[in-house]
Amino acid sequence: MATPSDPREKEKNGSGPLAIVEDATCVACGCLCDDIELTVSEGRIVEARNACPIGRAWFLADRGLGTRPPATIEGRPADPEEALDRAAGILAGARAPVVLGLTATSVEAQAAAVALADRIGAVIDPSHAAEALPRLLATARVGRVSASLGEVKNRADVVVFWGVDPVTTHPRHWERYSVEPRGRFVPDGRSGRVVLVADAARTSTAERADHVLTFAADRQLETLQAIRSLVLGLELDPGAVAASTGLDLEALRSWAGWLARARYGAFFFGTGLGGTSSVEAALLLVRDLNAKARFVALTMGGPGNPAGAEAALAWQAGYPVGVDFAPGYPRSLPGETSAASRLERGEADAALIVAEDPEPGLTEKARRRLREISRIVVAPDATARDATVALASATYGIHAGGTVVRSDGVMLPLRPALGSRLPSEREWLERIRTRLEALAR
C-alpha cells in the first residue's frame, strides 16, 4: 500500500535507484499545477521538475515524520486506538462542537469531515471562509460569468489582474493559464493578449503588464463602478470621478476602452478586492461586458484545496461554507453559523481541526475560546501542535492521495510519491465516525 503510485525505477549516475512520479499535482499555491515530475530517492522527494520555487519548497520539505508519534493525548504519545476512543468520546459528549481547518486536505477527507459534522451536529467552517464570504455572497446575489482556466488559455485576448499579484503568489499562472500559453484562438501567446493590472501597490505583476492602473485601496468599489459606468456608455463628471476614486477620468476611460475592445476578456481577482459590494461591482462589470463580447471573472484561488471544501460542503450540505448541523439539518446564515461566531460567543465546547491550523483566520476572541476547549487535531503535524488529542496524518499530495479542486472547479487527482506509516486524514475521520456510531448503538 505504501508504494508510490506508478514509479519508474531508473538508474541515475550510479547513485542508486530513483523512482519517478509524473504528472503529480502540486497544492502549494492556487495554481494546482499537475505537470510536476517528482524524483524519489531513499524515501525522499529529491527533485520536483517543472515546479516553481513555492512548489519545490513544498515537495522537497523535510517533514520529519519518522520522529514523531502517530498519536498523542494531552501531549503524551498514545496508542492510536486509545486516542481515537478519546476523540470520539469528546465529540460524543460535546454540545456545540466546531469543525475547522479543512482546506489543506483532499476532497475525500473534506467529505468525511462533513459527514462527521452532520453526525455530531457541529458547525463546520473551512478556515478560508471569512475571506471567501464576500465572493460567495456577491455570487449568490448577482451570479458570476466565469470559465475554466483552459478557456482563458485558448481564448482570452484581454487579461485583467485586479488586486492580485500572480507573478509573486501564483508563479506559474502566467505561463500555464493566463498570459503566455499559445491557445487555439490566441496563437501568438503573450503578444496576442493585452495584460492589464490594477492594484494599490506596484507589484511584480504590474512590472510585466501592458497597462497599469493604481487605485486607492479603499476606493475599489468606486473605481469599479466608474469603469462600469463608462463601459455602459454613461457620461461621468471628471470632478466627481476624481473626488470618488482619486483617479483621472481619462485614465479610467482608457481602461474601459481596453475592456470593451476585448473579444474574450478574463478578469482575475482575489481576496484583496474587499467586501461584498466590491466583489459584486466586479462581477457586474464583467457581466455587463458580455452584452457585446465575452468576458469572464475568475479567482486566483488557493493555496491548497479550499475550493474542494466549498464543493464537498455544497453537495452534502447545500451551502459552501459556515454550515450549522446543530438543528439536525444543515443551516447557513453568514455571520451567524460561522465557526468563528460560535467560538466568539463562547458556545463552542469542542473542536475538531482537520489539516491546517485555523487560528490565523480567527479573531483574537475566537482564538482564546479555541484554546480553552478540547481540541482534536487531525493533521500531518498534529502531534507537534497543542491538542487534547492529536492524530498525525499522511500529507496530501506527498504521502496521501485523493482529489483536489482547482479554483475554476476542475478536479485533479493527487499522485503521492511517498508512502507513509500514517493514515490519511480521511481514514482518521472515518475511524472516528465508526467509533461514534458504535457509541450510539
Binding site: 500500500m1 504528472d23 452532520d118 453526525r119 458580455n290 447545500g318 451551502y319 492521495g401
Partner: protein, 567 residues
C-alpha cells in the same frame, strides 16, 4: 439465499405484458421466478393485497450531480433556507431541499417517490470526476450520466476532416475515460460560436467559426458514431434554439437531419414553439406536427421536460440559453465556459400561471404526452430542475390520468393558452399501465438498461408499491413501500435504509491508435495533463459496466493511478 415475496398486489409490469394480481419473488437483489413448489415459503412476505406493484421509476433526463448542479446550490442559498430540509435520523444524513437538493436529499427523495434510477443528462467531460464524487454521495438510487460532446473541439475537428473512424474511436475513448453512459449533444456548435462572442447559431447550417463545420454535420456524425458503437442508449439530443419562439421549425429540421439514426430528443417541450425569435406575441404550440413526425419514426424517443408552476432553477450546458434567460428575467446569472467542450448557464426562474408564455409551456408539455401515441416512446421528465423539480412527478401523473384536472387548470390560465394550444381538445387519459410505461418501463428501454423498468426474472428488484387512491398525486407521492435491489428502502413514507447505488457506465472498444492524437491535442489545448483527465480504476469504484446484450463491448483498463490510501 433469503427469499422475499411481495404477495397479492396488482402487478403492473408492461415490459412483460403483465397487469394482474400475482406475487413477485425476490432473491439476491433480483426478481426470480415463482418457486415451482406451491408450498414454498418466503423468508419475508410483504402483503401487497389491494396495492399496485410497479418496477422502480427510471428518470431518463435530469440534472442531479456535478459541477453545474453544485454551482446552482451555492448560487441559491436562499432556496435552501426557504424550501425545507431533510433531518438527520439514525444513520441517515441530513440535507437541503429546494429545486437543487443536496446529494443525500436527492437520493432519499427520488426513492421516496418510488424512483430508483436517474440519469444526469449533461456532464462536461472535464467535470466527470466531480460527478462520480457526487453520485457516490447520492444514496439509494442507481445513476448514470451522459457526456457532452456537441461542442467538443476534437469532435468538430474530426468532422471537418471527415475522419469518421477516428471520431468514433474518440467517442468510445471519451466514454470509457470519464465513466459515462452515453453521448449528449447540446446545441451543437452553437455553444462554441457563442463562446467566441459571435452569438448563437440559428440554423442547422450555420457555420461554427474557426471549425468549418455546421450543427447538422456535428449532430449527424455523432449520431452515426453512437449507432456504430451500438451503445445501449442512442444519441441524446438537446437541439438548437431551446426556448425560443419559432423553434419548432428547427426541431423538425433536426428530426429530419437525424433520419435513419436512433435518437432520443430531450425535453421536447422546450423545442415546440411557434412564432418568431424575439417576438413573444405569436408564441404558440407546434406540438402536433412534431409529435406526428415522432409517431411515424419508431427510431425516435422523447422526454418531455414538463413545466410546472412555481419557483425553480434553470440549468443547462447551453450557455447562450443562460444568457437569454438572464436577459429576459433580469435575475442572477451564473455562466461557466468549460474548455474544449461546453458552456453552462444557471438562472433562477419562476413559472407563473398568469404569464401566458409560461402557461403555454405547461400546456405544450402535456400536449406532448397526449399526442405521442406510443407511450414507450415518451418519457416523463421535467428536465429536473429546469421545468420543475422531480418532486412534481406525481402531479404530472395526476394530470395525465385525469382530463378533468387538466381542464380545471386550463380554465384558470390566460385565455391565450386555450387559443394557442390544442390541449383542451385532447381527451386522452393515461391508464396505470401507461403511467408505468412513461415513468419506468419506457425510460429503461430507451436507456438500454436491461435489468431496469420491469419485474421479470433477472430484473433488479427495484419495486414501488402504491396504494390506489383517487387522488393520483397523493398515490404516487407516497408509495407504501419501495425496494431497491430487494432491500426495503421506503416503508410508510419513511426512509428505512440507505444502500449505496450503482453508477452505470460504458467502455466500448476502440482502436488504441487514436490515443496519441487525442493526447497531442489535449496537451496542447487543455489546462490539465492528459494523464490526469482519464479517471483511474479506483475513481470508478462502485460503477458497473453496462453492455448492450447483442454488442461485443469489453472493458479495457485505463491504467489509472489514482488512489486515496497511503501507509
Amino acid at each position: 439465499m433469503s427469499l422475499l415475496r411481495i404477495a397479492g398486489g396488482r402487478v403492473i409490469d408492461p415490459a412483460n405484458g403483465v397487469d394482474e394480481v400475482r406475487d413477485v419473488w425476490i432473491a439476491g437483489g433480483r426478481v426470480v421466478a415463482a418457486p415451482g413448489d406451491p408450498g414454498a415459503k418466503a423468508d419475508r412476505t410483504i402483503d401487497a393485497g389491494g396495492d399496485v406493484v410497479m418496477p422502480g421509476g427510471v428518470d431518463v433526463h435530469c440534472h442531479i450531480a456535478g459541477p453545474k448542479v453544485n454551482a446552482a446550490r451555492a448560487l441559491r442559498p436562499e432556496e435552501g433556507r426557504e424550501a425545507g430540509f431533510v433531518r438527520r435520523s439514525g444513520a441517515l444524513r441530513s440535507g437541503t431541499l429546494g429545486s437543487v437538493p443536496s446529494t443525500y436529499a436527492t437520493g432519499y427523495k427520488y426513492a421516496g417517490l418510488g424512483y430508483t434510477t436517474a440519469v444526469d443528462a449533461a456532464v462536461p467531460p472535464l467535470g466527470a470526476r466531480h460527478v462520480h464524487h457526487e453520485l457516490r454521495d447520492t444514496p439509494v438510487i442507481d445513476a448514470a450520466f451522459l457526456a457532452l460532446m456537441g461542442n467538443n473541439h476534437y469532435v468538430m475537428d474530426r468532422v471537418a476532416a471527415g475522419e469518421w473512424d477516428r471520431l468514433r474511436d474518440y467517442v468510445a475513448w471519451l466514454l470509457g475515460a470519464t465513466g459515462a453512459f452515453g453521448v449528449k449533444v447540446v446545441n451543437p456548435g452553437g455553444v462554441e460560436r457563442w463562446k467566441q462572442g459571435k452569438g448563437d447559431v440559428a440554423t442547422l447550417d450555420d457555420e461554427v467559426p474557426g471549425f468549418g463545420v455546421t450543427p447538422r454535420e456535428i449532430l449527424t456524425a455523432l449520431a452515426r458514431a453512437v449507432d456504430e458503437l451500438a451503445l445501449p442508449h442512442p444519441i441524446h439530443v438537446h437541439g438548437l434554439n431551446l426556448g425560443l419562439p419559432g423553434n419548432a421549425e428547427t426541431m423538425l429540421e433536426t428530426l429530419r437531419a437525424l433520419d435513419g439514426h436512433r435518437a432520443h430528443m430531450a425535453h421536447v417541450q422546450f423545442h415546440s414553439y411557434g412564432g418568431h425569435p424575439g417576438d413573444l406575441r405569436r408564441f404558440d404550440s407546434r406540438v402536433a406536427p412534431l409529435a406526428e413526425y415522432v409517431n411515424e419514426h419508431p427510431e425516435l424517443t422523447v422526454d418531455v421536460g414538463q413545466v410546472l408552476f412555481g419557483e425553480t432553477t434553470s440549468m443547462t450546458a447551453d450557455g447562450p440559453v443562460g444568457q437569454y434567460l438572464h436577459t429576459v428575467t433580469g435575475r442572477k446569472w451564473l455562466s461557466h465556459d468549460v474548455e474544449l467542450e461546453t458552456g453552462c448557464g444557471i438562472v433562477p426562474i419562476t413559472y407563473e400561471e398568469k404569464n401566458a408564455v409560461h402557461a403555454l409551456q405547461w400546456a405544450i408539455g402535456l400536449e406532448w404526452f397526449l399526442r405521442v401515441e406510443d407511450p414507450w416512446r415518451v418519457a416523463l421528465s421535467t428536465d429536473h430542475p429546469n421545468g420543475g423539480s422531480f418532486l412534481a412527478y406525481p402531479e404530472i401523473i395526476a394530470l395525465l390520468m385525469d382530463r378533468g384536472l387538466r381542464a380545471e387548470v386550463l380554465a384558470r390560465l390566460p385565455a391565450r393558452v386555450r387559443a394557442r394550444s390544442g390541449l383542451g381538445e385532447l381527451s386522452r387519459e393515461y391508464s396505470l399501465s401507461e403511467i408505468a410505461v412513461v415513468t419506468r418501463a419506457g425510460p429503461a428501454r430507451m436507456l438500454g438498461l436491461a435489468a431496469k423498468g420491469h419485474l421479470g426474472p433477472g430484473a433488479d428488484a427495484d419495486v414501488a408499491i402504491y396504494t390506489p387512491d383517487d387522488d393520483r398525486r397523493r398515490m404516487f407521492a407516497l408509495p407504501r413501500y419501495v425496494l431497491k435491489g430487494g432491500e426495503v428502502v421506503i416503508d410508510g413514507g419513511e426512509v428505512r435504509s440507505s444502500p449505496r447505488g450503482t453508477t452505470f457506465r460504458v467502455a466500448p472498444e476502440y482502436d488504441r491508435e487514436v490515443v496519441g492524437s487525442i493526447r497531442d491535442w489535449f496537451e496542447r489545448d487543455g489546462s490539465i495533463r492528459f494523464a490526469n483527465f482519464e479517471l483511474g480504476e479506483e475513481e470508478l469504484g462502485g460503477t458497473v459496466l453496462e453492455r448492450r446484450p447483442d454488442s461485443p463491448q469489453e472493458h479495457k483498463g485505463h491504467g489509472g493511478k489514482h488512489r486515496e490510501d497511503s501507509s
